[in-house]
Amino acid sequence: MSDRFSGLLLRRADDALVLGHRLSEWTGHAPSLEEELALANLALDLIGQARALYALAAEKGAGEDEDALAYLRGDREYTNLLLLELPNGDFAVTIARLFLYAAFMDNFWRAAAASRDRDLAAIAAKAEKEAAYHLRHAAEWLIRLGDGTEESHRRAQAALERLWPYTGEMFEPEDEVLVAADVCPEPAGLREAWNRTVDAVLAEATLARPAECWMQSGGRAGRHTEHLGHMLAVMQSVARAHPGAKW
């Protein structure tokens, strides 16, 4: 049970850290000062969620501490969604990805706030509010891009088409034992709510929902795209060059 629970924590922590790191890559490159602050704050929320989840996982015996879990595991040990490790692309891809993920996590964390595990419930209760805030920010941008200029519309639509094959992985089954014990929600049960949010925002953004297609998979089993290894190499370089260093 403890291994299963750690596995759940690591999946969700890896998701948050990988997307948090990707968003942090925008620091210094955002299209406006407000958006610069927004992207950095979004990253901070996600990295904060990751820290809480890693710390709890370490307490359950998954590793020495949160730093070891974040900085000393290789790409095959990461179990994040492939969607989140893809490069940022242009601003439309960054926003579309944040939107698709937050629309799922908003519901996931809300359900997980009722978890039988008190610590996970407490982390979820916080993360839920952050995910709702992220969802609003991303949705507002997506509407502005989709219903904006010809170019912003084209780029937003292209971003959705690019990311769509990676959305199926969010709904892959969670650990059945943990779901049965009411420790975490079953992702498939959150699909309808996700569809409603996505369809409503895309309609307002005058964007088309991409056609259903074959879905990419593998992140949860540690089989990643070529991009994760490169990202981790950058993210982990300082920690690996100076083992045990403290701020």
């Binding site: 407000e34 927004a38 904060g48 820290r51 809480a52 209760a125 916080k126 509010k129 709702a132």
Partner: protein, 169 residues
């Protein structure tokens, strides 16, 4: 007075001293608020291993938490309270409803609009926030993300003054 009674009094006072020391620590990003005002200071217990001060994090990514824990340790050490340790507790999760009334008033005086009641909002619903300077209820959101993780940036429609608003969390 029996020795037992004196000893019991002493035990209470050590805990009270530890609470007072910890409660004097301020938020490094909003120095008008103590961690007691914020609701970050949860409890102080005395056990076999000494005094344990329990604090709870606010926003998941709040970078002030590390500094707060360190400042509490320093405050306890200054009071000569040892052995003591600072422990982070997650449950129940902190919300802005933990902010004390005194804390809300201090925020307003400092020029930061205090948060409304925590709760779920519609995807695009805006919240009613009054200007902390002139009290006007008509204010608009300038940026959802402000100078720290806990604040957004708004502007008053009456006095035109931009101001920070504590996000509802």
């Amino acid at each position: 007075m029996s020795d037992r009674f004196n000893k019991a009094r002493q035990v209470v006072s050590l805990r009270e001293r530890a609470w007072a020391a910890a409660a004097s620590v301020v938020d490094p990003e909003i120095p008008v608020l103590t961690i007691e005002d914020l609701g970050v200071l949860r409890e102080v217990v005395e056990g076999e291993g000494g005094v344990e001060v329990r604090i709870t994090p606010t926003y998941s990514g709040c970078p002030a938490m590390g500094v707060i824990a360190w400042e509490v340790e320093a405050a306890l050490a200054r009071e000569g309270i040892a052995p003591a340790r600072v422990v982070t507790v997650l449950s129940p999760a902190w919300t802005t409803d933990w902010l004390s009334e005194a804390g809300r008033e201090k925020l307003r005086e400092y020029g930061i609009a205090p948060p409304g009641k925590a709760g779920r909002r519609a995807l695009f619903g805006d919240e009613a926030v009054s200007c902390p300077r002139c009290g006007c209820g008509e204010t608009v959101l300038l940026a959802e993300f402000g100078s720290t993780a806990c604040k957004s940036l708004r502007q008053c429609q009456a006095c035109r003054e931009p101001f920070d608003a504590f996000k509802c969390h």
